[in-house]
Symmetry: C2
Subunit: 190 residues, 2 copies
Amino acid sequence: MPSQRSIGEAEKLAEAKLGGIALRREQMAAVANIYRAASAVRQHLENSVLRGSDLTWTAFVVLWVVWVWGESETRHVAEEAGISKGTLTGVARTLESRGLLRRAGHPTDGRLVLLALTEQGEDFMRQVFPAFNEEEAFVTARLSDVECRSLADGLRQVVLQVEEEGEDRRRSLLNGENPTPRRSGRRARK
Amino acid sequence: MPSQRSIGEAEKLAEAKLGGIALRREQMAAVANIYRAASAVRQHLENSVLRGSDLTWTAFVVLWVVWVWGESETRHVAEEAGISKGTLTGVARTLESRGLLRRAGHPTDGRLVLLALTEQGEDFMRQVFPAFNEEEAFVTARLSDVECRSLADGLRQVVLQVEEEGEDRRRSLLNGENPTPRRSGRRARK
DNA sequence: CCGAGATCGTTCGGCATCAAATTGTACGGG
DNA sequence: CCCGTACAATTTGATGCCGAACGATCTCGG
């Protein structure tokens, strides 16, 4: 499916829709392609290396984080994996039920929970990670090492921008008004 | 949170974990950052421009696709939005319930369903899209126009690689064996 | 000690998500 | 016409996903 043509056309159509109002084309194309690429990569990996063990991308990332960082507190894992702590609770439960992850209370601080791989989890990662990395190489096969590095650099700038200035930006956009609560999400009990 | 340091450190830790086994560093960093950037951008947009109208990223993308392409068949919308048609059914239902989207049967082919914006949906997009584009510019603010373009080009290569060669690749990875069915998903009735 | 705040992980509600199964429609050949 | 095949969208089941509410625990000042 020639999605690239689509993006180009869609841009023009959008510009027409807006009747000549200024449009940040490059920025729009960059964002659109970031998301498109992320979906494509995730889908490819879930349907290749991860399929056999029936793990989702997120579950694998969590496993990966705990693997490389060693036993860690959940909030650090969530932060590093890029998911909310609420989500991590569920993912960790799934992983625990498959015998790959172990959870333990912190020895001195009763609020904390520590996550670590089980022996089976370690074996799993030793076996699967090389295959995963192989597919990372596959999806980027059209780029040279230098191009990969430059791509990563560009993306890092985006991540940094949002991480360092996103919160201020969002505050100033609302200016003053308190943020609308989400339609979904837990309600007060009373 | 200095996530960049994390990525760099994690790479080294992973290499140590694998005991000197060849690791495609650049490729790994590129993929990791694609996903990280995509999450950051999505999160920022959902919590800024989309928050007021309580729309998810996906819902907005669907709206956007229908807006720029005009009344369209669902499978094209799903393809363009990068979601499965099953997901689209649900998202379209949500959007319909908010009065932004309208669904209609195809005049001559009874299998098809056409999606179009309602008048309210048109108004919404005219009003919200400029703000959305403004935030796309915000998240990419650390990149010049040229860098944005080059970033988009690199990402396009990734998308193309997966779209054009992903299926073959996945087939050859399984070589012969039929793909493990997902744990989730519908079961045969009998 | 003790109570106010801060901080943790978990629970909860409402959507999103995928792939396979299913239902409904179209269309060509016999 | 009828049947089989092809293709559309929807349903289904299990999980992911977020953010707000929650209950448990820590910390520090008095």
